[in-house]
C-alpha cells in the first residue's frame, strides 16, 4: 500500500514539468559543484605535492651553513587535502593550508583564500555542501509543501479517504515518494562524486575515505529525512498550500541563512576570540627575553644549571657548546608560551563550536554543516590536529639543530654543518585522523540530526492523522 502510494507520487512528480526543471537545476549545480571541487582538489593536491617536494629539496640542498641559520631558513608544511574536501571545503579557506616552520616561532597558517575574497563571495562559492545543505532542502519544500493541503484543495483527499486509506499510510507513502524522486537526482550525483573521488585519489585512498563518506552520507540522509518530515507535517496541518509554503520557506530561510549567521554572531559575543593582531601581540609580550640574550635572568639560570649538571666551575670548561644549549632553552621557553597561547585560542574556538552546536538544536543546517565538514576532513579540530603535528615537527627540527650545535660547534670560529645533518631531519609526514576520531567529536551533532529526523517523523504522523478533508 505504502509502496503503491510512493510509486504514484513519484510518477506524478516525474511527469510534472516543475519538478523536472527544478530537479535539472539542482542536479546540474550539484554535479557542477562536484566537478569544480574535483578540479580544485586535483590542482591543490598537485601544487601541494610539488611544494612539499620543493621545500624538502631546498632543505636538503641548502649547502653548508650554521645549523641555527638552517633553522631560521626553515621548511614549509602543507596540510594534505583530503579527497572528500571536493564536497565540502569546510574551514580551509579561512584557516589556511600551509605553515612556515622556522626557529623561535609557531607561525600562523598561510594560503587563506578567504583573506583575498570579498564579503559577497561568502554566498557565492558553489560547493557540493552548499547545494546539499541549502538547495536540496528547498527542493524538498517545493515538492512536499502541498502534499496534503494540495490534495485537500483539489478534492482527491476526499476520494482517497472514501477508499479507506489510512492517513498515516498516506504520509509514509508520500515520504517514500519524495525520497524516490530525490533519489533519482541524488544517486546519480553521488555516483559522479564517487567516480570523481576515485579518479582524483586512486582506489586505495578511495577505500580509506569510505567510512568518512558513509558517515557523511548518513548525516545528509538524516538531514533530508528531517526536512521531508517537517514539510509533510506542515502540509498536513496548514490551512492551505499557500500558508504551508510560506511557513516552510520561512523555516528554510531561518535554518539555512539566518541561524548560521546568528550562531556565529552569538558565538563571537559570548566567547570572543582575539584578533590576529592581539594574539600576536600577546605572544610577543610573553616571549620577552629569549635565548639569544645571555644577560637575561633565564640565561644566567641556564649557566648555573649547566655548571652544576656537568660538575665544572666555569662556562669554558663545559663539554658542550653553550650557544646550542641557550638556543634550545630559548626554544623550550617559547614552546611553553606558544602552548599556553594556542591552547587558550583553541579552547575559545572549541567553546564557539559549542555555541554553534547549541543553536543547531533549533536549526539542523548547523548540525549537518558541522558533520559534513568534519567527515570531509576540513573542520577546525582537524586543522588543529594538523597544526599540532606541524608544530611538533618544527620543534623536532629545532632540537636536532640545537643538539648538533651543542655537540659539534666548539667555542671558537664559525661552525658549519652540511647535508649529513639536514638529512637527519626526516621528511614531514602527516596522517589525518581516522573516521572514528571524527565520529567521537561529531556524535553530538549526529545525535541532534537523528533527533530532528525522529521528531519530524513523529510530527508528520501526528499531523497526518489529524488532516481534515475540508
Amino acid at each position: 500500500m505504502i509502496l503503491r502510494i510512493a510509486r504514484k507520487e513519484m510518477t506524478e512528480m516525474v511527469r510534472d514539468g516543475r519538478f523536472r526543471a527544478a530537479g535539472a537545476i539542482v542536479f546540474t549545480l550539484l554535479a557542477g559543484a562536484l566537478l569544480l571541487g574535483w578540479q580544485h582538489y586535483r590542482e591543490v593536491s598537485a601544487q601541494h605535492a610539488a611544494a612539499q617536494k620543493a621545500t624538502r629539496d631546498q632543505w636538503l640542498r641548502q649547502g653548508k651553513k650554521n645549523p641555527h641559520s638552517a633553522a631560521h631558513y626553515g621548511v614549509y608544511a602543507f596540510k594534505p587535502k583530503v579527497p572528500l574536501t571536493m564536497v565540502d571545503r569546510g574551514t580551509d579557506p579561512y584557516t589556511g593550508v600551509a605553515v612556515w616552520l622556522e626557529a623561535h616561532k609557531q607561525n600562523e597558517f598561510k594560503y587563506r583564500p578567504a583573506q583575498d575574497a570579498t564579503a559577497v563571495q561568502r554566498f557565492g562559492e558553489l560547493t557540493g555542501a552548499t547545494v546539499l545543505q541549502l538547495l536540496v532542502p528547498l527542493l524538498i519544500v517545493l515538492l512536499t509543501f502541498n502534499a496534503f493541503s494540495g490534495e485537500r484543495e483539489l478534492g482527491t483527499l476526499r476520494q482517497l479517504r472514501s477508499l479507506g486509506v489510512s492517513q498515516t499510510d498516506l504520509a509514509r507513502g508520500k515520504a517514500l515518494g519524495v525520497a524516490g524522486a530525490l533519489g533519482l537526482l541524488l544517486v546519480p550525483a553521488a555516483l559522479i562524486g564517487v567516480v570523481a573521488l576515485t579518479a582524483a585519489s586512486g582506489q586505495t585512498d578511495m577505500i580509506a575515505s569510505a567510512p568518512r563518506m558513509a558517515w557523511m552520507t548518513l548525516s545528509y540522509l538524516l538531514y533530508f529525512a528531517a526536512f521531508v518530515g517537517i514539510s509533510l507535517a506542515v502540509s498536513a496541518s496548514a490551512p492551505s498550500s499557500r500558508s504551508a509554503l510560506i511557513v516552510l520557506l520561512g523555516f528554510w530561510m531561518f535554518n539555512g541563512l539566518i541561524a548560521p549567521r546568528a550562531a556565529s554572531d552569538i558565538a563571537k559575543a559570548v566567547r570572543p576570540a582575539p584578533s590576529a593582531f592581539q594574539f600576536a601581540q600577546g605572544i610577543g609580550k610573553a616571549l620577552q627575553g629569549d635565548g639569544h640574550n645571555s644577560a637575561s635572568a633565564r640565561g644566567k639560570r641556564l649557566e648555573a644549571e649547566l655548571l652544576k649538571k656537568y660538575n665544572v666551575d666555569k662556562v669554558e670548561a663545559l663539554p658542550i657548546t653553550l650557544t646550542g644549549a641557550r638556543l634550545q632553552d630559548g626554544e623550550e621557553h617559547g614552546n611553553q608560551v606558544f602552548d599556553a597561547a594556542y591552547s587558550d585560542l583553541w579552547k575559545t574556538f572549541g567553546e564557539q563550536e559549542g555555541v554553534h552546536r547549541a543553536v543547531s538544536v533549533f536549526a539542523p543546517a548547523l548540525a549537518v554543516r558541522s558533520t559534513s565538514m568534519a567527515f570531509a576532513g576540513a573542520d577546525f579540530p582537524q586543522h588543529a590536529h594538523f597544526a599540532q603535528a606541524a608544530e611538533e615537527y618544527r620543534r623536532m627540527i629545532q632540537r636536532v639543530m640545537n643538539e648538533d650545535i651543542m655537540k659539534n660547534a666548539g667555542s671558537t670560529g664559525v661552525y658549519m654543518a652540511g647535508g649529513d645533518l639536514w638529512r637527519k631531519v626526516p621528511p614531514f609526514s602527516y596522517t589525518a585522523p581516522d573516521a572514528g576520531w571524527v565520529l567521537a567529536r561529531q556524535s553530538p551533532s549526529l545525535a541532534i540530526l537523528a533527533l530532528w529526523c525522529a521528531a519530524a517523523g513523529v510530527a508528520a504522523m501526528w499531523a497526518s492523522r489529524r488532516v481534515q478533508v475540508y
Binding site: 506524478e12 482527491t156 479517504r161 472514501s162 479507506g164 481534515q468 475540508y470
Partner: protein, 233 residues
C-alpha cells in the same frame, strides 16, 4: 445497508442536520432532494466520516463509521459532484491507483473492462485526465465503484452539469449497480432523474428530512408539485 440512527450535526450551535433516521436497503436508490444548505451533503459527509457527528450513529453494513472508519469504507464508493483525479496520470492509471488503495488487484484487461462498463471510450483510457471532460471523470468514478464491488454508494450531486445524454448514461449505470444489490444514497437537484432512477425520494429542508415517498407512487408532475410545496416557507 446504509443506516442513520438519530444522526445529527451542528456547528457552533448552528444545526446543520437534525436527528435523522434513515435506512437504505440493498437494491434501493434513495434520492435526497432539497435546496442548497438543506443538509444533503452533511448527511453524506457523516456517512463518509469526513465530519464527526454531534449525536447519533451512521452505519454501513452494520459497521459504525466512527468506530470503524477504515473497515466501513471498504464497503462503499463515493462519487462527488466532481470526481477529482490526478491530472498527470492517465484515466487507467488513476483507476489502477484508486482501486489498489482500496486493496483491489486487477489486471490491465480487467481495469479496461471496468472503464468500458462505465462507458469510457477505449481511446480515452490512456489519455491524461487533465484533458478529461466532467462526464469522463464521473465515468472513472463509476469504474472505481464497479471495481471495488461497492455495496453502498454515496453520491453527491454526481450528475449536475452533465449533458442530458451523459446524465442518462449515468443513471443507467446506477440502475445496473443497484440491480446488482448496491444500496445507493444520492443527493441531487434533478427531480426528473430522481423520479426516473430513484426507488425512494426524501425531501430535506433546514436540516430536517421533511418527507419521503416511493417513486412508484408518484408521477413526474406530482414530485415537482410536492417539492415546491415543501420549499415554500
Amino acid at each position: 445497508m446504509l443506516e442513520a440512527n438519530a444522526l445529527a450535526k451542528s456547528y457552533n450551535g448552528t444545526t446543520a442536520l437534525h436527528p435523522l433516521n434513515l435506512s437504505i436497503e440493498p437494491g434501493e436508490i434513495f434520492c435526497l432532494l432539497g435546496a442548497n444548505g438543506a443538509g444533503k451533503t452533511t448527511t453524506i459527509n457523516l456517512f463518509l466520516n469526513f465530519i464527526p457527528p454531534t449525536a447519533g450513529t451512521a452505519k454501513i453494513g452494520g459497521l459504525d463509521v466512527v468506530q470503524q472508519p477504515l473497515e466501513s469504507k471498504r464497503l462503499l464508493a463515493y462519487i462527488p459532484e466532481q470526481v477529482m483525479l490526478y491530472k498527470n496520470l492517465t484515466g487507467i492509471e488513476n483507476l489502477e491507483y484508486f482501486t489498489s488503495l482500496a486493496r483491489g488487484s486487477h489486471t490491465k484487461a480487467e481495469l479496461l473492462g471496468f472503464l468500458e462498463e462505465a462507458g469510457l471510450a477505449r481511446a480515452d483510457a490512456d489519455k491524461r485526465v487533465a484533458a478529461y471532460s466532467k462526464g469522463m471523470r464521473q465515468k472513472v468514478g463509476i469504474a472505481i465503484a464497479i471495481a471495488k464491488k461497492a455495496r453502498a454508494l454515496l453520491l453527491d450531486e454526481p450528475t449536475s452539469g452533465l449533458d442530458p445524454k451523459a446524465s442518462n448514461e449515468f443513471s443507467e449505470l446506477l440502475k445496473k449497480l443497484s440491480g446488482q444489490g448496491a444500496a445507493i444514497l444520492m443527493a441531487t437537484h434533478d427531480l426528473f432523474r430522481a423520479k426516473e432512477t430513484g426507488t425512494r425520494v426524501g425531501i430535506m429542508k433546514h436540516g430536517h428530512l421533511v418527507a419521503q415517498y416511493a417513486t412508484s407512487e408518484l408521477g413526474h408532475a406530482d414530485l415537482e408539485r410536492i417539492y415546491l410545496e415543501h420549499m415554500h416557507d
